[in-house]
């Protein structure tokens, strides 16, 4: 990629975005295209394998991961609208494939993986123009985006480019929302308590939308807010950015 901006990228939708947040996936693709990048979306995408990996079922995780890596043969960046799945592919694939015959191939793939906002800011350096009405939002930083992937405020800096958007700070912003994949159903009481606290902190900001980069967190916080009849909505950052910056 020689330092110059890539002209072409792969997009990996992730299973949660594929089934629950396809608008966020479409918006991510549109944001990349708007920045002048051709987007290749290979069919055959399923899941990064994280659930099985986290539960210790590494053979099963590898079986699935191999089919996914094979979809991205060219030396192009692979963009994901998820910090958690990007973290899995970038940070944990090398561990998962350690000592396997295809380790080198997987490592090369991992090196090309980016979370969407990370790529928009660090690689493309996009400039956004806000076309929307004034709105107050808050930001939920997903644990894996920050701690696995090392995101350092890229999403917030994109929100900061939008003139009519006020970003209200969320209390205990680095605390987990309680999703944790299988944790949410294996430990429903603890997970539920964490989710309710996160929802309450989000409501206390006075924002009308909570944004995040991860489908898991969004599904969790949204479900909790809906159950308590809250007026606060959640939205994937890709969808929010696309809506604010492009006339329909």
């Amino acid at each position: 990629m020689n330092g110059s901006k890539p002209k072409k990228v792969y997009f990996y939708g992730t299973c949660l975005v594929d089934l629950f947040f396809p608008d966020a996936g479409m918006a991510g693709i549109q944001l990349l295209r708007a920045a002048g990048v051709e987007v290749v979306f290979p069919q055959g995408q399923t899941c990064c394998g994280q659930p099985a990996y986290n539960c210790g079922y590494w053979e099963e995780a590898r079986d699935v991961a191999r089919t996914q890596v094979a979809l991205f043969p060219e030396d192009l960046p692979v963009i994901l609208p998820s910090g958690s799945c990007a973290g899995m592919m970038k940070v944990h694939y090398p561990e998962l494939f350690h000592g396997q015959p295809d380790e080198a191939q997987v490592r090369a793939f991992s090196g090309r993986v980016y979370e969407l906002t990370q790529f928009l800011v660090q690689v493309l350096g996009v400039k956004l123009t806000d076309l929307g009405e004034p709105v107050k939002v808050t930001w939920h930083s997903s644990c894996h985006a920050v701690r696995d992937l090392g995101l350092k405020g890229e999403p917030q800096s994109l929100i900061g480019q939008l003139a009519n958007v006020e970003l209200a700070p969320l209390a205990r912003t680095h605390e987990c929302c309680g999703f944790g994949g299988t944790f949410s159903v294996r430990q429903p009481e603890i997970s539920g308590a964490m989710s309710c606290d996160k929802a309450a902190d989000a409501e206390a900001t006075g924002a009308s939308v909570l944004l995040s980069t991860d489908g898991g967190c969004l599904m969790n916080v949204n479900g909790t807010l809906e159950a308590k009849g809250s007026a606060l909505k959640v939205q994937h950052i890709a969808e929010f950015l696309w809506e604010r910056t492009h006339a329909r």
Binding site: M26, G56, R147, I190
Partner: protein
């Protein structure tokens, strides 16, 4: 020694979550501790430097552990400290009982020691007619109620001032009811002072053991550590075998990061360097000093190159203070000597990954623990590894109870999961059904039921992203609907 019973973290945690007083006590205390730690590390780069240095010191110590332990024992012996080795808690208890009995000791005053908790020493000594009194204020408070520590640094953190006021007025002879913290502390001090003077023996833990000098370092805030180790004629120290460092200069960075990470203090009120019994001409100190070095599964942890990182721990408790699970359920819910994230990796390795499967899965893998750990123990990665160990019997693994947490149901679930997701055509079919009929799944279906306790049921979109991208490709355009 532990019953081969599956302990259900989920159940005890669920109970704890129903106690609003407990939850408020922990939330307030943990928020305070996080803020205090943060204030001690204003510069992230300085913090990282100190973490790197501390990690390097602990890793290097472990790398040379067998040699360092030999050197440490030799230097302790030279200093007049009698060193004993115990492979199990039972052996350690018997050793301590033997030492106490040989001196005719009937009362033991204790400084804080988590290893003695690991051994369940107090109960053991009581069975043999020896009174063991905790002298750390927090430990004293919980001992009055027959409780175990709920935090490794602040054992009574689950109680608030009012609860302690009530307890003291009921349990301490001639005590009046007061909520004044100074008065409460004075009450405990009055009882404890006399105990220090009367005790036949004192017991302490060890924070760092220095090989080159044969020194026992003890970090504390109340002076009870100093009193326990200096006033009675006999001092017995207990430590896990991982506590040794090579040089005295290794202690300074570890001490600096320990107090800052633990309680947000730049230094502790007391820092004791114990290098043997009272020497000729000296006016204080015990006549005899014994040291019991405990293994209790540590050698087995040590044998695994990845899991060895568990033994870097300096017992600061920062992982607990920053854990969103611990903050909500408190320490007792873990039903383990070491609660919180470090307990979730240490306990299953000591007691067996199968029997403590509940702890291994009691984490959202958020990574807050690994992020604050002063010696960079990759707690989330180790949790994932232990989940692996609990369900598989990989060759070469020495993990206690490996494979014993495996169930046929989970095996099948993951086989089905992989069978579906490694076949894109099958996934495509499943996605089609999910998007068309996902709404119809009852909220009371297994697993979904756990989700919908506190949340609405997630509803799949009407068309998947892949389906929309297929349509786009077929229409030949790049515009989407």
């Amino acid at each position: 020694m532990h019953a081969e019973l599956e302990v259900h973290f989920r159940d005890s945690a669920a109970k704890a979550l129903l106690d609003p007083q407990l939850r408020a006590n922990f939330r307030r205390a943990m928020d305070g501790l996080m803020a205090k730690r943060k204030a001690q590390f204003p510069d992230p780069a300085d913090l990282q430097d100190l973490r790197d240095l501390s990690t390097a010191i602990r890793s290097r110590s472990l790398l040379n552990l067998p040699d360092l332990l030999e050197q440490f024992e030799a230097n302790c012996t030279k200093n007049g400290i009698r060193v004993h080795w115990a492979e199990t808690c039972e052996e350690a208890n018997e050793l301590i009982l033997g030492i106490l009995q040989s001196k005719g000791a009937k009362t033991l005053v204790k400084g804080k020691s988590m290893v003695s908790e690991e051994m369940h020493l107090n109960a053991f000594l009581e069975q043999h007619g020896i009174e063991a009194l905790e002298s750390d204020l927090g430990e004293y408070i919980i001992q009055l109620d027959g409780e175990t520590p709920s935090h490794i640094i602040m054992p009574a953190i689950h109680k608030n001032k009012d609860q302690i006021a009530r307890q003291f007025s009921q349990k301490i002879k001639d005590a009046k009811y007061t909520e004044d913290v100074d008065e409460l502390t004075a009450m405990a001090r009055k009882v404890l002072r006399q105990k220090f003077l009367d005790a036949d023996a004192g017991l302490s833990g060890v924070n760092f053991a220095v090989a080159e000098t044969g020194t026992l370092c003890l970090v504390e805030n109340e002076g009870n550590g100093r009193m326990s180790t200096h006033v009675p004629p006999l001092h017995i120290a207990v430590m896990g075998l991982e506590k040794v460092v090579a040089r005295l200069e290794d202690v300074a960075p570890l001490y600096a990061i320990l107090t800052r990470s633990a309680t947000g203090q730049a230094v502790s009120t007391y820092f004791n360097l114990i290098t043997g019994p009272r020497g000729t001409g000296e006016k204080d100190g015990p006549q005899d000093v014994h040291l019991v070095i405990l293994d209790n599964g540590r050698s087995r942890i040590y044998a695994d190159p990845q899991l060895r990182a568990t033994l870097r721990c300096i017992r600061c408790g920062a992982c607990m203070n920053h854990c969103p699970v611990y903050t909500r359920v408190g320490g007792h819910a873990y039903e383990a000597v070491y609660p919180g994230p470090i307990g979730k990796i240490l306990t299953p390795q000591m007691e067996g990954v199968g029997v403590r499967h509940d702890l291994i899965h009691g984490s959202s893998l958020c990574g807050a623990c690994g992020e604050v750990c002063p010696v960079e123990i990759p707690i989330p990665e180790i949790l994932v590894r232990l989940r692996r160990e609990a369900t598989h019997t990989d060759a070469g693994s020495q993990v206690a109870g490996k494979g014993t947490g495996r169930t046929r149901t989970e095996d099948w679930a993951w086989r089905l999961w992989a069978g579906l997701l490694k076949r894109p055509r099958l996934y495509r079919l499943a996605a089609w059904f999910a998007t068309r009929f996902g709404k119809a799944l009852p909220a009371g279906a297994p697993l979904i039921q756990n989700w919908t306790r506190t949340r609405t049921k997630p509803v799949p979109a009407r068309r998947s992203l892949q389906e929309r991208m297929r349509s786009e490709a077929q229409s030949g355009g790049t515009r989407h609907d």
